[in-house]
Amino acid sequence: MSGVARLSLVVAYAVLALAALGRSTYQIATKLSEAPVPYLVSGVSALLYLVIAVALWRRWTGVALVGTALELLGVLVVGTLGYVESSWWPDETVWTGYGSAYGWVPLLLPAIALALLLRERRARRDDAGVTPAQEGAA
């Protein structure tokens, strides 16, 4: 991944982390009992964004890969459950409606980050001359 893509992703994740942290901290501190599941999901997503931003900056590729994969899974699961079982969600989370309240950035960003991280991992593997079969055997 180029330095430009990496730093741009760090900025995007830092902004999302800031937004989600502020929102979830307020909701958890003031009205957790009203909708515990959505507010805790927002809290978890905020922490995940923070971890991914740090991992991208420190180049912890494994952590960033797992984090973005979890984030994408979270957006898809919460987004789908919001339509299928709307009674479970008395209030919105960051991932509700596949992140529609945040311009669908929570859906697009992990997809872009995952693609870039996987490409980087493949490039590193090619540079090291390791084939996937060799890696699997090891």
Binding site: S2, G3, V4, R6, L7, S8, V10, V11, A12, A14, V15, L18, A19, G22, T25, Y26, A29, T30, R58, R59, G103
Partner: protein, 140 residues
């Protein structure tokens, strides 16, 4: 409140729009980076004026949710740290860090990082300003 809705809020939105536009132009045409760098202190000033205005409104009796309003205002200040983040990739900055994976950017890469971060920060600043306006108007 009239001063806030009529002057300060439009000022923040205007500066955000200018920042986003200059960021997009810089992504396409690197020499615009100079203008973008000039816009950074302008953005700082706009956010500072906005912050002072919100605090004054809260202190002078606006019946808004203080935690929420101040939270958004603090977020707008925190966003400023991300402007010009390309500076973290300069060879000088990288040489001072023992982390071997720290990215070292060329001049053109720093320009593109600054431009991309300006667009992201501009959008986030506009959203935060809009949220503060909604909260303050609901309380008015």
């Amino acid at each position: 409140m009239e001063l806030y809705t009529g002057v300060i809020h439009p000022l923040v939105l205007g500066v955000s729009a200018l920042l986003a536009l200059t960021g997009l132009i810089t992504l396409a045409w690197a020499p615009a980076h100079r203008a973008l760098r000039l816009l950074v202190p302008v953005t700082y000033a706009a956010v500072a004026v906005h912050t002072v205005a919100v605090v004054v409104l809260l202190l002078t009796g606006a019946d808004a949710d203080i935690i929420l309003t101040l939270g958004y205002t603090v977020a707008s200040v925190a966003l400023l740290a991300l402007l010009g983040i390309g500076r973290l990739g300069t060879p000088e900055a990288a040489s001072a860090d023992p982390d071997p994976h720290r990215p070292v950017l060329t001049r053109s890469q720093i320009t593109r990082v600054d431009a991309a971060s300006a667009v992201i920060v501009a959008v986030a600043l506009a959203v935060v300003a809009w949220r503060v306006l909604v909260i303050l108007e609901a309380a008015a």
